[in-house]
């Protein structure tokens, strides 16, 4: 019998917040409360002054394996996730080979069996992400795949997207879209506008994202299918999702920490660490995304953790691949941006909702992730100190890659411990294996 005792924290979950210790026995939450005591032989983890909440769930992680192991592996990415408070990651399927068949699904699930985070696998919508033929959604769903996306690109063909939504209806899965009109966005390196003009760089207009959001909302309405919008970044995208939800459509949406924190002006030094798809947008867009999250129009924060080797990110800006790592900084960045400073936008409870139980619901992982923290449930938890100040040092990160836009930035809020299925995989900010 192995026991963990999380002492002195404030438990925060979908039911509310309460001062309580938490006893974890053999992988499950055994009891919670202010008067409970640790069993003999229990490992005691201090949680005083901190929040004890369900482990974070990331809807959007690029683990790069198979095919791009120099940038990241399932193992290293999971360690990075655990250090960031995550207990579940949805692995994006734009690997090499892509996850477009049962065989590759099995391969990635196997790679994730002993990792520090539970790895759920997303499958592609089209074969090879080629945008032409439907991938075997049913076969992959039988293995537990709950999210399908061609992420990295959007499905350009409206007819194909319609068929995919219709075909997926009885499977109980959700199709997730990377909204980007390839023709409008062709050759672009950043957001089109004031800054791209000044810097002499080709940009993609907000409309490149919005046209596909508009189309897919119409297709969702037409088919009744379940749709999730990945990394929304513009004012009108948020507005359209707000209107669609008001009409009762089954659409959900996510936004990344970097779209909450940064804007297109970050590209002024031509640092490829700020190059990402969708690109960093205007101040107005950033405010709209933050508001959308605060309002609940955007359901979840997802990292879009996208590791790239140092060599790749040292290419000239227009040749460097887009993407930023984010698992280890997501919670702290979101907390600093949304809950701290003058005029906080969100309460911590709402922030944790967007990081834990709401993404868990979208990913179909509620059985084991997202809480509530109560007896009988699998112990996937994290302990989060909301007051700790720390500076991001890329050299100290567990991810194999270094492409973070937050290097040197001071953040408020840090994960102390992460419990994965009852095992303390992170203690005092150190990964245990």
């Amino acid at each position: 019998m192995s026991e963990l005792f999380l002492a002195g924290g404030t438990v925060l979950d979908a039911t509310g917040s309460r001062r309580a210790h938490v006893r974890v026995v053999d992988g499950l939450v055994a009891e919670t409360g202010e008067g409970i005591e640790a069993g003999s032989g229990a490992r005691i983890l201090d949680a005083s002054g901190s929040i004890v909440c369900p482990g974070l769930v990331d809807l959007h992680t690029h683990l790069r394996q198979p095919g791009n192991e120099e940038a990241e592996t399932v193992e290293s990415g999971s360690r990075a996730g655990a250090l960031g408070g995550y207990t579940a990651l949805v692995a994006m399927p734009n690997t090499d080979p892509p996850i477009d068949s049962a065989a590759v699904v099995r391969q990635v699930l196997e790679l994730g069996r002993f990792s520090l985070c539970e790895v759920a696998v997303a499958g592609t919508i089209t074969v090879g992400r080629g945008g032409e033929r439907l991938a075997p959604l049913g076969e992959m769903a039988d293995l537990g795949v709950r999210i399908f996306t061609d992420d990295g690109a959007g499905v350009q063909d409206g007819r194909l997207m319609r068929r995919a939504l219709e075909y997926a209806l009885p499977l109980g899965v959700v199709l997730a879209q990377h909204c980007e009109d390839a023709a409008l966005a062709a050759g672009s390196v950043m957001n089109e506008g004031e800054w791209s003009s000044r810097l002499g760089l080709p940009g993609q207009p907000a409309e490149a994202e919005e046209l596909m959001v508009m189309r897919d909302i119409a297709l969702a309405r037409m088919t009744g299918g379940r749709l999730h919008f990945l990394h929304l970044s513009t004012t009108a995208s948020v507005a359209m999702v707000r209107a669609a939800k008001a009409q009762g459509l089954a659409v959900t949406a996510e936004a990344t920490p970097h779209h909450l924190a940064l804007t297109e002006s970050s590209l002024s030094g031509y640092d490829p660490n700020f190059k990402v798809n969708p690109p960093l947008r205007t101040e107005r867009d950033r405010a709209a995304v933050r508001r959308g999250l605060a309002d609940g129009v955007i359901d979840a924060i997802a990292t879009d953790h996208a590791p790239h080797t140092q060599e790749a990110k040292e290419m000239p800006l227009d040749q460097a691949p887009p993407g930023m790592v984010g698992l280890e900084t997501a919670l702290a960045v979101a907390h600093t941006e949304l809950c701290c400073g003058e005029g906080p936008v969100m309460a911590v409870a709402d922030l944790m909702a967007a990081l834990t139980w709401r993404p868990a619901a979208i990913a179909g992982l509620r059985a084991r992730h997202g809480g509530p923290v109560e007896a009988g449930r699998v112990a996937n938890l994290c302990v989060f100190d909301t007051t700790a100040r720390w500076r991001v040092d890329p050299e100290l990160m567990a991810t194999r890659s270094r492409n973070t836009p937050f290097g040197g930035r001071e953040l408020i809020g840090r994960i102390r411990h992460t419990i994965r299925a009852g095992e303390a995989v992170v203690i005092d900010g150190q990964a245990q294996r």
């Binding site: 506008g193 003009s197 000044r198 810097l199 002499g200 760089l201 031509y270 060599e311 000239p316 040749q319």
Partner: protein, 315 residues
């Protein structure tokens, strides 16, 4: 100031200093032995990832006339152009011991990236669509030389015509001329203007004919034929008829107006062949002045220290 990446690095004062300094180097260039020992013992490397024999030779001549040692890397092989080992290439050159590196690349921002990796002074010789500071400086110098006096710029009306969107020469010239007090008008079809002119100190016109009579300096940009494939304009013929500096349009300029072009020229497209040899065309002088201006820039970066102000109190 240790590097020249963009015109704004100099500021109006710096631009004027470079222009005055250029007078001295024009004098040096006209001597029988056009050489001074000012940068003796310094090493200047030209690292061109994008081909341009003329600009590269201009920089190398400038360095040599200052008695600096030069190193040349003309890296136009496709593997390096794909971005492989950009950092490696640059660090290898720097490791040989250089004081300044002159960089040209087809990707905007490379000089900024390079300046983060090595210690030498960096001169931007053209980065993608973004900037080409020494071109703007030699253009300003050529205008100053033609009009005489130290500062003929305030109130001068400059029109830049052509593919502004993809032109580093245009961006640098807008910055330089406006910093010196000239008023700048951009003339182009909407598709050849940047998506946003927010914050640009310019006027805009789509009608070249309307602008001709009120221009003191008309600056023509090269039109690239490949741009047709991007649906930016229907044909070279239509571009030439609406925006080309024909003989007939040149005749409608003020008699004292000056005609400029950074080269190389598409004769018959943005400029008619006959116009290039009109008396008010400064095109040849632009080329000639390139060496002296680049000498001034190199000297300013590697030679001159910041002048400190000294006050003498009489006893």
């Amino acid at each position: 100031m240790t590097s020249l990446l963009a015109v704004e690095d100099l500021g109006a004062r710096g631009i004027r200093e470079v222009l005055r300094l250029t007078d001295s180097f024009v004098e040096v260039s006209e001597r029988a032995i056009p050489r001074v020992p000012a940068l003796r013992g310094r090493t200047v490397a030209t690292v061109f990832f994008e081909d341009s024999t003329r600009t590269r030779l201009s920089f190398e001549t400038a360095a040599k006339r200052l008695s600096a040692d030069t190193m040349t890397f003309s890296v136009s092989t496709s593997s390096v152009n794909k971005g492989e080992s950009l950092r490696d290439t640059v660090e290898t050159v720097a490791a040989m011991g250089i004081d300044a590196m002159i960089v040209r690349h087809r990707s905007a921002g490379v000089p900024w990236q390079v300046s983060r990796w090595i210690d030498a002074s960096i001169i931007n010789a053209g980065d993608g669509w973004h900037e080409h500071p020494t071109q703007a400086l030699l253009d300003c110098y050529t205008v100053r030389q033609a009009l005489g006096g130290d500062d003929p710029f305030p109130g001068l009306r400059v029109a830049i015509v052509g593919d502004i969107k993809h032109s580093r020469v245009a961006r640098s010239n807008v910055a330089a001329f406006s910093a010196l007090g000239a008023s700048v008008t951009l003339v182009a079809p909407p598709t050849l203007l940047p998506p946003s002119l927010e914050g640009w100190p310019v006027e805009v016109s789509h009608d070249l004919d309307a602008v001709l009579a009120e221009t003191d300096v008309i600056y023509l940009l090269r039109i690239q034929a490949e741009r047709i494939n991007e649906a930016l304009f229907p044909s070279l013929r239509e571009y030439a008829s609406r925006y080309g500096m024909t003989r007939e349009r040149a005749a409608r300029l003020c008699p004292s107006a000056l005609i400029m072009h950074p080269g190389p020229m598409n004769r018959g497209v943005e400029i008619a062949a006959e116009v290039t040899s009109l008396p008010n065309s400064l095109i040849t002088r632009q080329v000639t002045n390139g060496v002296a201006v680049r000498m001034a820039v190199l000297f300013r970066l590697l030679g001159a220290a910041e002048a400190s102000e000294a006050l003498v109190a009489h006893v």
